[in-house]
Amino acid sequence: MSVSGLIPVLAALTLSPLLFGVINKVKALVAGRQGPPVLQLYYDLLKLSRKGAVYSATTSWLFRAGLVGGVAAVVAALLLVPLGGTPAVFAFRGDFILALYLLGVARFFLVAAAMDTGSAFEGMGASREVFFSALAELALFVVLAALAHGTQTGTLSAMLGGVTPELWRAETPSLALLLIALVLVLLAENARIPVDDPNTHLELTMIHEVMVLDHGGPDFALVLYTSALKLWLFAALVVGVLPIHDGPPAAAFAAGLAGMALVAALVGVVESAMARLRLARVPQLLLGAAALALVGFLLLAAG
């Protein structure tokens, strides 16, 4: 257990809403608008947490418990993720398995809360969520197994810390493939374009937004905060594969934070430049990510 690992967790808890601000700002700038303030999500969270709540009479205790379990699971998973060369609070062989399964817990509860409303819309979202996440998880497993093989380590902290400029020079193609796969997984798992459109709420094509239609007040604040934390977690993984955590810890950590902003900006650019894929193409995109990761693994292990 490392106490300094609390710094990345604290950064996640305080700064994660900023990621959405950066994404929206970039999108606005690309579109030639001024856009909402970067701190908009903070204001939204404050406003929502001061409100009351309206519940559907169909819902049960699971609807209320779902968000609580979800946010706790994501925070617990964040305890295992390093940032900018600072190791995570906990690191043990195979810790990424626990991290991914904790995200699975969050998913299960989110889906349960959605199905608890008895709404066909939310059922639709739930159905897609479990499908696409299963594929994304597969790709993520291959990426992390490849990183572990490439760095010959077993913990998230060590394998992300082990992606050095030297390793990038030696294994450029496979690390590039893994990075692409990781970005695709980030886009899919966080309901971003080209997999999902975070701006529309009631289209039949939606996944994540449609599952939280019936949440309001503090509950919806928890939903938004959980998705911010989840985006932070995946962005931290992407940043971890960049060769920026050499040098003194403080500088490396600052580089890590800058990397987070960069990833958010990248998401913003992707969203400005692309349209959402047809739903039928999404599994192909995710399978493609898994295939890229597998090729990356193959090049590392057999090339």
Partner: protein, 210 residues
Amino acid sequence: MTNTLLILILLTNLRLLISSRIHACVRWVAAQGILLGLLAVVGRQADITLLGILFALFTAAIKGWVFPWLIFRAIRESEIRREMEPYVGYNLSLAIGLAALGVSFWLGRRLPLPGLPGPLFVPVAFFSMFAGLFLIVSRKQAVTQALGYLVMENGIYLFGVVAVRDEPLLVELGVLLDLLVAVFVMGITMFHIQRDVESLDANQLTQLRD
């Protein structure tokens, strides 16, 4: 650099397997041809001759420009549909492709050819051949069959670079000319079949059996 080119060739093969549009497929095959031409230059940096560079340029021009142009023309003239019409779904194709990739790497380890410019040559060559073969077998349209032959030929070309150390490009040239004729014939036949059978579904060729 050689490795990067080989990996890009490998990825174009995977991309071909999940492509649902014929036009996109033709463009990817063209890109693959240009990559091969580049490879012929980069892959033998040490003993590259002027003749070698010329042959490489010729390869790139043929594979990256002439063949695609011919095929595009055939598509336009025969007014065929623009979907790939697969027998095997795209996801399953990708899975099969990955399996073939694994087999190729395994074969590559089992077949250590002397004097390799890099460890990836043999696996990527095998994989291109498998991918081409799979495209021929699993897609309905006659155009895709031509594309499949081209991809297979690209694999053979890679072998040519690897296996025949002295004058690979001469050997290759022969194959290339064969293929040129093949594509011509294909283009003409496609046009005629289209006129006679009013479809370019390779399935319909069974109508011609007697």
